[in-house]
């Protein structure tokens, strides 16, 4: 959906998110976090969402022209890859959303975009990035109805094997369901490739105040927990304790 807010559009960085109040009542109570996946002009930013529960169901009923209370932009967002890097974006399902905004922001483009879905009918419209120059999009589906039959990690695996010599100049950015993230994180650590993951977590405030969105850090010395809303949602994979997730 497109949401008009010149302020948010002006401030937002790729990978940041907003907290949306899906109704005006007290049930459901909490705001829902959604990545900013792009913009239309200077006024409207885009949110791409999947209906999974009552909050998103209510959003889907919100009429065009209606008003929603939106808090944002929130979170750290992606650090843009250095020029000359090959940008590899790996998304599972709705995880494409933050990566769209990143793909749009990368200046000197050499982008591999790998997106995995359950089935071809679940594939999210890629038009925000379809027309970008220098982007190479590949799909996987669990049931083989589009692209590679299997996991998106297979695509990555193959790509990494082919481009083993270039792993130094690669920057991985990933977003998707946890099992996928874990697997990609392991691969990236294995190949010693720079990799940033956009994480999800239950959230209440979105502002770093409630400490509800904790995720365990890999280094006890620094801090035991990071907060996804404030320290993230984007984390260098090495900073996270993936076993705890």
């Amino acid at each position: 959906m497109g949401l008009r807010s010149p302020e948010i559009v002006a401030d937002a960085k790729p990978g940041q998110f907003v907290m949306i109040r899906v109704g005006s009542g007290i049930e459901p109570l909490l705001r829902r976090p959604f990545s900013i996946c792009g913009r239309q002009g200077n006024d409207v930013f885009l949110v791409l969402y999947r209906v999974v529960g009552k909050g998103t169901a209510i959003m889907a009923e919100t009429e065009k022209g209606g008003r929603l209370s939106v808090l944002g932009p929130l979170g750290n967002g992606f650090e843009l890859p250095k020029p000359g890097q090959t940008v590899v974006l790996v998304a599972g399902g709705i995880g494409v959303a933050p990566l769209f905004s990143l793909a749009q922001a990368v200046k000197e483009k050499d982008i591999q975009f790998m997106a995995g879905f359950g089935s071809s009918d679940e594939i999210i419209r890629m038009d925000p990035i379809n027309d970008l120059n220098g982007i190479n999009i590949s799909f996987s589906t669990d049931d083989g109805t589009k692209g590679h039959a299997g996991l998106v990690t297979d695509l990555l695996d193959e790509y990494l094997k082919k481009n083993r010599d270039r792993s130094d100049s690669m920057s991985l950015f990933i977003c998707g369901p946890l099992p996928m993230l874990k697997r990609v994180a392991a691969m990236a650590l294995d190949h010693n490739i720079s990799c940033h993951a956009s994480l999800e977590s239950a959230m209440a405030c979105g502002l770093g105040a409630c400490q509800g969105c904790a995720v365990r850090s890999s280094s006890q010395e620094k801090t035991e927990f990071y907060h996804v809303c404030k320290d993230g949602p984007v984390f260098p994979i090495g900073t996270i304790d993936w076993n705890s997730l």
Partner: protein, 308 residues
């Protein structure tokens, strides 16, 4: 009457410019809301629970939504006293509002040490003693549900500080009046109630508790009737002022507490739902006073009419 109602209230020795305060743990150190709420407009802010040593808190998931409420099991994650003094206090000292530290100890002595450490410290207007956190193994609620221990903790803090002492009570008791009385007699200057109600939620797909801590504290509008009842019971039992907290979402909810007898209110979960909630409540209180010819909001406190 003047067109600007007088919103000032007194919490024993503590003067507030208005009765709207942020609840501990829901507004961080104020800093997190800096682009949204100017704390100087509020009656006060109560800081995140502070312990002697830093606490990492409970493993995630720490929060889950429930009908008209939420469960949290943060586990009093906080930076600890030393870091607080260095990193947060200086900024708080520049504020022109009541800054209330919320303290939590593992033992009665720790409560005493925390109070002593904050003694004479500029920029801290009062101390709220949390003897009611359901999300920690030791201390917390285990203290706050026992009248004797509650009184002991209160006494310890009172003796170790020069600041007004507010004691925050747990609703997870049979009769809040007994604890309220005990704490009053131990020297507390005010009471806050209620903290969260212990609750639990289960994911029927995974058959696991939705919180890693298994149980959590229920907050939000769901608990408001319980909070109002306990405030009503407490104000009839003690002579010290009571601060109402629990499920306040808007000014109408805040008014319910004031009419029940609370001298001020704390806004917690509402900060998550509507980050500007405190300011909206303040505005709503002003409008209510104007519309109802209430010159001083203190007139409303305890104005509940009970039929014979």
């Amino acid at each position: 009457m003047s067109s600007q109602p007088d919103l000032r209230v007194k919490l024993g020795p503590l003067d507030l410019k208005n009765p709207v305060i942020t609840a501990s743990g829901t507004f961080g150190y104020g800093r997190e809301y800096k682009d949204i709420v100017d704390p100087n407009l509020l009656g006060g802010i109560i800081l995140k629970g502070l312990s002697l040593k830093p606490r990492a808190g409970n493993p995630p998931p720490r929060i889950v939504e429930t009908p008209c409420g939420m469960l949290n099991a943060i586990g009093l994650a906080n930076m600890g006293l030393d870091a607080f003094m260095k990193q947060e206090l200086p900024r708080l000292q520049t504020l022109d509002t009541a800054v209330i530290a919320n303290i939590y100890g593992h033992s009665i002595d720790e409560y005493g040490e925390l109070a002593a450490a904050l003694k004479g410290v500029d920029g801290i207007s009062a101390i709220e003693v949390n003897i009611s956190c359901p999300n920690v193994e030791r201390g917390g609620m285990a203290f706050g549900t026992d009248p004797d221990v509650s009184a002991e903790v209160t006494g310890k803090v009172v003796r170790n500080t020069d600041k007004p002492v507010i004691v925050k009570l747990s609703p997870n008791v049979k009769d809040i009046r007994i604890i309220a009385k005990a704490v009053e007699e131990a020297g507390a200057h005010a009471l806050s109630l209620i903290n969260t109600i212990t609750g639990m939620a289960i994911d029927i797909e995974t058959r696991a508790p939705k919180l890693a801590n298994i149980t959590g504290g229920l907050s939000g509008p769901a608990i408001r009737p319980v909070a109002i009842h306990m405030v009503y019971q407490a104000v009839q039992t003690v002579d010290i002022p009571v601060i109402g907290v629990g499920g306040i979402m808007d000014s109408r909810d805040a008014l319910e507490f004031l009419i029940a007898g609370a001298h001020a209110v704390q806004v917690g979960t509402a900060n998550f739902v509507a980050p500007r909630a405190t300011l909206d409540i303040l505005e709503g209180l002003k409008i209510f006073c104007r519309d109802n010819d209430v010159a001083q909001i203190s007139e409303l406190i305890g104005s509940l009419k009970i039929a014979e």
